[in-house]
Symmetry: C2
Subunit: 325 residues, 2 copies
């Protein structure tokens, strides 16, 4: 058994090395590393209990897979980023600092109740040519600006955007490297919808694919399972939550259970596409827990009880790690 | 020659019929038709010269192709919508009424100089808890709200959003049907980046594609060339501008020339991906015209001279149509 596991882990490391070697270089990599370093230093220093501040990396939104090097066409994974954005709000309220690794254009924390195009839909010019929010939107707009900016300016929320699968995995590696010193106080809440398939950069068309004649046949390679390396090599002490989204409930629970085992997650949040805003199933080794938003109690998001549950489980994880050490 | 042309046109009509028959039904189709009807009535009535107001349909942004019926993955065509949004501003300034058929989330007229996320990047709360634009953004924000809202409220700008290739083509058909009575006063400025390939709805996976093992092979069918039917059947009298975007200059001019002939366009605007904000080539039967933005004259957009040129050509088209009638 052990041999087999080592072999599959080595295989995963190898695949990821190949993936990174063939990826286009990350723009602003140095700048991102610097921001991460500053954020972590500030949050460790500001912590009351000996530098053991809890920090969660929330990933959010879908990644894209370019089909051409000078990208005109790409494959996208649907995800509004609503779950990641809302969850980040509750993590901040629970006292966590949040690294929000999000898809450009996806939902932002404290902004999920705003219209799609807030500038054009929420504001008007008064007769005196002053900018003014429509009365129906004033509260939502004020909340968004106030809470979002207070989290960013207070140094508790670091936002890092990505678009492609390459950027996503490269930045996630930088985050993991920076967060390693946090040990069990680090949490990964991997809500992003990561592409399963990609076109290796080297084999990608340099110019736009021509549509001269006939159907287009494409062969996509599987994206290597980064989770193995992230969990075992990059952040072996951290607390890990991953997500499964499926449209078929039977497949969903089966796959969530498989992911829990295969990647040695602490919990897998199982989402069914149509009901995921009302209810999710938290799959753990000690059983499945159904989490629902409680309309009777006026709870507006399923993320409220979900984050409450995960924060508790993270506390146990930190405690257990202390005992083992 | 004539026989061949009739046959290829019949073939195109047939392909489009199949495409529409197999497409998912358009949501809000009745509502869109009603809006179009009201917009056209208002603009024909408000016109001074016997109802012959010029109206342009500007299409903008990229279309998506769903890979699954309950859509998780899709193929997207890159387009920020900058060209369509900016061009719409110049058409409005030139006295046109504009039907703006745009991809959800793409650039909006009068908003192209704003940051990606204007609410979070342009506003702050004052100490008195008032919403206020940062001084550096005040002018851009005011301009966006004022000019955009005055165009919409004045009834000169109708905005219709789409996401998928199915919605795009279905709404375009509704627009063409409504605009037919305008004859040569109608212009189509087709700046949207329309997918060349799609997965026929019927053959689409019902549930999420599974990534169990191995590479993914996909076969995509060609999207039928709507332009043939739009030009010849739906709007035979209108003035037509289409666009070509390529990453290779030689391929670009060749394909623009081919499109001009094949679809009987009045002009094809040829864009090279990297230089398209500085210069475009307007390909017509009477020759190619290079249009550049003139920095010396303080012209900030290549769309300014481009729309000026096209408005002139549209005037000639209207005049010629009058002579022929």
């Amino acid at each position: 058994m052990e041999n087999k596991s080592v072999t599959s882990q080595e295989k995963a490391s190898n695949e990821i090395k190949c993936f990174f070697d063939s990826a286009p270089p990350l723009k602003d990599g140095i700048d991102i590393s610097k921001k991460l370093q500053e954020f972590l230093e500030e949050n460790s220093l500001s912590s009351g209990n000996g530098g053991s501040k809890r920090i969660v990396c929330v990933t959010s939104g879908g990644t894209t897979v370019p089909l051409e090097q000078r990208c005109v066409r790409f494959i996208d994974n649907f995800s509004s980023g609503h779950r990641g954005a809302t969850s980040s709000e509750y993590f901040l309220k629970a006292g966590y600092s949040v690294i929000f690794l999000y898809r450009r254009g996806s939902y932002q924390p404290f902004c999920t109740s705003l219209p799609n195009d807030p500038l054009l839909e929420c504001f008007e010019l008064t007769d005196e040519s002053c900018i003014q929010a429509y009365p129906s939107h004033t509260d939502a707009v004020k909340k968004a600006i106030k809470e979002h900016q207070s989290a960013v300016k207070g140094g508790h929320l670091l936002k890092l955007p990505f678009t492609t699968i390459f950027e996503y995995l490269q930045i996630l590696q930088l985050i993991a490297t920076s967060m390693k010193t946090l040990g069990p106080y680090a949490m990964y809440y991997l809500a992003a919808a990561v592409s399963d398939f990609y076109v290796p950069w080297e084999s990608m068309a340099m110019h736009k694919i021509q549509s001269a004649s006939g159907p287009l046949d494409m062969r996509l390679a599987q994206v290597p399972k980064m989770l193995t390396v992230l969990r075992n090599d990059w952040a072996p002490m951290a607390f890990f939550i991953s997500f499964k989204l499926e449209t078929d409930m039977d497949i969903l629970l089966k796959k969530a259970g498989m992911a829990l085992q295969k990647y040695n997650m602490h919990a897998v949040v199982a989402n069914e596409l149509l009901t995921r805003k009302e209810e999710v199933t938290v799959v753990t080794t000690s059983g499945n827990i159904s989490v629902r938003r409680d309309k009777a109690k006026g709870v507006t998001d399923v993320e409220s009880p979900l984050i409450e549950l995960l924060v508790e489980k993270h506390s146990s994880h930190i405690e257990d790690s202390g005992k083992r050490a």
